[in-house]
Symmetry: C2
Subunit: 338 residues, 2 copies
DNA sequence: CCTCATCGTGAGAGCGCTCTCACCACGAGG
DNA sequence: CCTCGTGGTGAGAGCGCTCTCACGATGAGG
C-alpha cells in the first residue's frame, strides 16, 4: 500500500507538507503542490480513510435509513437512494444504506455511535417508531425526508402538503362534488396528518367533516380498495386518496361496484406515479419530485456537517395534475401521461 | 466519547486486557472478562471503527455494487439489497451500497482502494463493462451475483440456468409446440447466454436453430413487445422469453395481434415475479430465489474474508412453474399465484 | 543594519485501537 | 531447591493521517 510517507519521500517534502498539498492548503507554494500531486498521481496514492477518519473525527460517510418497505414495489425508494447517493458524492461523501426492517435498536444503534457515519438522512413511514426520536436526540446530525409529526426542532426536506391539498380540494369543489370523502394515510404520519388537516380545512374545519366520509388506509392498494368500498356505502361522490396506490384500489373498488369514474364518483391520488397514471383511468393527482426531496435532504445534512446551525427546513413545491378521474363536467381528455 | 482507555481504567486493567476481554480472547480469565464487559456496558462503550480498522487493516464493511437499473421498477434489486445486508450483519459486517450509474471508474474506484471496504458483492447486467474486470483483478475479494461470461476464475453465486432451461424446453416440447422462438437477453450477459445455449441444445444444437425465431431483447417490457411482434411474423407458436418483463411484453403483443394464449401462441418467462404472475394470464416461468442468491454470494465473500481460498462457486436450484400460458392441451386452470 | 511580519515548511504528537513481546506468579517435575 | 511450562496480564509500538507549534528564509520598514 502506498502511503503519504511514500509520496512525501518521493516528492522531497515532509508528510505534513504532502498532506497539505493534497488537501488544497493555500499556504503551500504552487510549485510544491504541483510536485506532490504529480508524485501522488504517479504512485496511484489513495488516502486511507480509516486513518483520516481517526485523525479528523470525520469519516466522510453519511448514513441513509430507509424502511424496507420503501424499496419494494414502487421505484420511490430506489429514486431516493439514487438521489441521496448522487448528491452526497457531489459533496465528497459516500453513502451507507441501512434498511430499518431489523430492529434499529440493534443494527442501527450499533453503527451509529461508533463514528462510522458523520450524519444521517432518514426516511420514515411509521413516524411513531421510538428509535426515530432516539436518533434525532442522539449525537449525530440528522436530516429527515418528510416531516416528523410533533417535532419542529428537526431538519427536514418535505413536499408541500398544505398548498397542494388546498389546490386539490379547490379543484374538486369547483367541479361540483359535494360528498367528498377521504382515504387518509396512517395517523401519526406527518404527510398523512397534514393532508387530512387541509382536507378538513377546505370543508370548513374539522367539525364540518362527516365522519362517515373519512377512512384510514395504510398507503397500499388493498386498504385503498377496502376503504373505498366502505365510502361508497356512505354515498361519497368523490374519493380523495392520500396516495396513488390507495387511489388505484379505490378505482378498482368503484368499477367493481358497477359505478363509473368520474360520472358517478371521482377519485384523486397523490404522488403521480408513472405506472399508475398509465392505468385504467387517468388519475388526478399531485405531482412532486421524489429525487428533489432526497437531494435537498442530503444537501441540508451536508450543510449541517459544514457547520450550519439550527434546524434547516425546506419545503418543495408540488403541482396539481388534473386528469379524467375528476372531470365530470367536461369531455374526458387525455391530459397527463408523464 | 468513551474510549477503551476509560473502560480499562474503571475495570482496573490495562487497555490490552480490556481489548482482549471485549474480543473474546480465551487467554483472559473469566473474572476479568466479566468485569470488563460490565464496565463497558455501563459506560455504553462502542469501539471506534476507524481506529480498529486502522489497526487491523479490516473495516468490517463490505461493498455492494448494483446497477441503478436494478433498483427501479421491480423488487428484484430491493430484495437483493435486503438479503445481502441481512447476511452481512449476521457475519458482523456492515454493507455499503454503490449504484453503478455513475462511471464506476470515478466513484467506485475512489472508495475501493482506500481501505474502506474489505470486499465486494457485485451484481452485474452489462457484463462487458470494463470496470467489472478491473474490480475482479483488483486487490479486493469479490463475489459475483450471477455468473460472469468468460471468466471461470471468480467466485459467484448463481441460479441454475442449465437445468431450468432444459426443464422448460422439455415442457414446451412435450406440450407439442414446434416453432419455438426465443426472446433472449443481451448478448454477453451470462444468464442470457446460458439460457440461449440450452434453448439451442434442446432444439438439437446451434445449427438446428432457425435464426428467424431468435431475437435479442434488453430484459424490459418494451423490447419484449417489439421482439414478439417480429417473432409472430415468423409464425412462432411458442415464445420463450428470457425474463418475465419481456414475457409480459410478448403477452401484450400477442393479444394485440388478435391471437390467443396459449391457443395460438404459448409464452414462457423467467423469474416468477409476483406482479407479473398476477397479470392477465398465468405465466409459465422459472422460479428462483433472489434472496437466496444474494445471501449465498454474501456468505461466499465472508468466507473468503475469513481466509477460504480459491474461487468459490455455487449454483442454486430453480423450479419450473407451469401455468396456463403453455397448456394448450389442457383446460386452462389457475395453478399459480405465488 | 536591525527588527519584524509573512510565507512556506518540518517535526512530532495524537487520534483509539490491536497485537507482539515481555513479564510475573504459580505449580509441577527433576 | 531450582528449572521450566503455563495461564494471565501489562507495556508500548504502530496503523496512516492531520494539525499545532515552531522554525528558517525572505523582504519591507525604521
Amino acid at each position: 500500500m502506498v502511503t503519504l510517507a511514500d509520496v512525501a519521500r518521493l516528492s522531497a517534502t515532509s508528510r505534513s507538507t504532502a498532506s497539505r498539498a493534497l488537501n488544497n492548503d493555500a499556504r503551500i507554494s504552487r510549485a510544491t503542490t504541483d510536485r506532490v500531486r504529480l508524485v501522488a498521481d504517479a504512485l496511484g496514492y489513495r488516502p486511507n480513510l480509516a486513518a483520516r477518519s481517526l485523525s479528523t473525527g470525520r469519516s466522510g460517510i453519511i448514513g441513509l435509513i430507509l424502511p424496507t418497505g420503501q424499496l419494494t414495489g414502487d421505484p420511490y425508494g430506489a429514486q431516493l437512494v439514487g438521489a441521496v447517493t448522487t448528491r452526497a458524492a457531489l459533496g465528497d461523501h459516500a453513502t451507507m444504506l441501512w434498511l430499518s426492517h431489523r430492529e434499529p435498536s440493534g443494527a442501527v444503534h450499533e453503527v451509529l455511535r461508533n463514528g462510522l457515519v458523520d450524519g444521517l438522512v432518514i426516511s420514515i413511514v411509521a413516524q411513531d417508531d421510538p428509535w426515530v426520536n432516539d436518533l434525532l436526540d442522539g449525537p449525530l446530525p440528522c436530516a429527515l425526508i418528510g416531516r416528523h409529526t410533533g417535532r419542529d426542532d428537526v431538519s427536514y426536506a418535505s413536499i408541500d402538503n398544505i398548498l397542494s391539498t388546498r389546490a386539490l380540494m379547490a379543484h374538486v369543489l369547483e367541479e361540483g362534488y359535494r360528498r367528498i370523502a377521504m382515504i387518509r394515510g396512517p395517523i401519526g404520519n406527518a404527510d398523512s396528518d397534514e393532508r387530512y388537516a387541509m382536507y378538513a380545512e377546505a370543508l370548513g374545519g374539522p367539525e364540518a367533516v362527516d365522519a362517515n366520509l373519512v377512512t384510514v388506509g395504510a398507503f397500499d392498494y388493498d386498504s385503498g380498495y377496502r376503504c373505498a368500498k366502505s365510502l361508497l356505502r356512505s354515498d361519497a361522490d368523490c374519493i380523495v386518496a392520500a396516495n396513488d396506490h390507495m387511489a388505484l384500489g379505490a378505482v378498482d373498488a368503484i368499477l367493481d361496484s358497477g359505478l363509473s369514474i368520474p360520472g358517478d364518483v371521482a377519485v384523486t391520488g397523490w404522488d403521480d406515479m408513472r405506472e399508475i397514471s398509465r392505468a385504467t383511468i387517468g388519475l388526478t393527482t399531485v405531482r412532486h419530485d421524489v429525487e428533489a426531496v432526497g437531494r435537498e435532504a442530503t444537501s441540508i445534512l451536508l450543510e449541517m456537517l459544514a457547520g450550519a446551525a439550527g434546524p434547516i427546513q425546506r419545503t418543495l413545491p408540488t403541482s396539481l395534475v388534473v386528469r379524467e378521474s375528476t372531470q365530470r363536467q367536461h369531455v374526458p381528455v387525455a391530459v397527463g401521461g408523464g
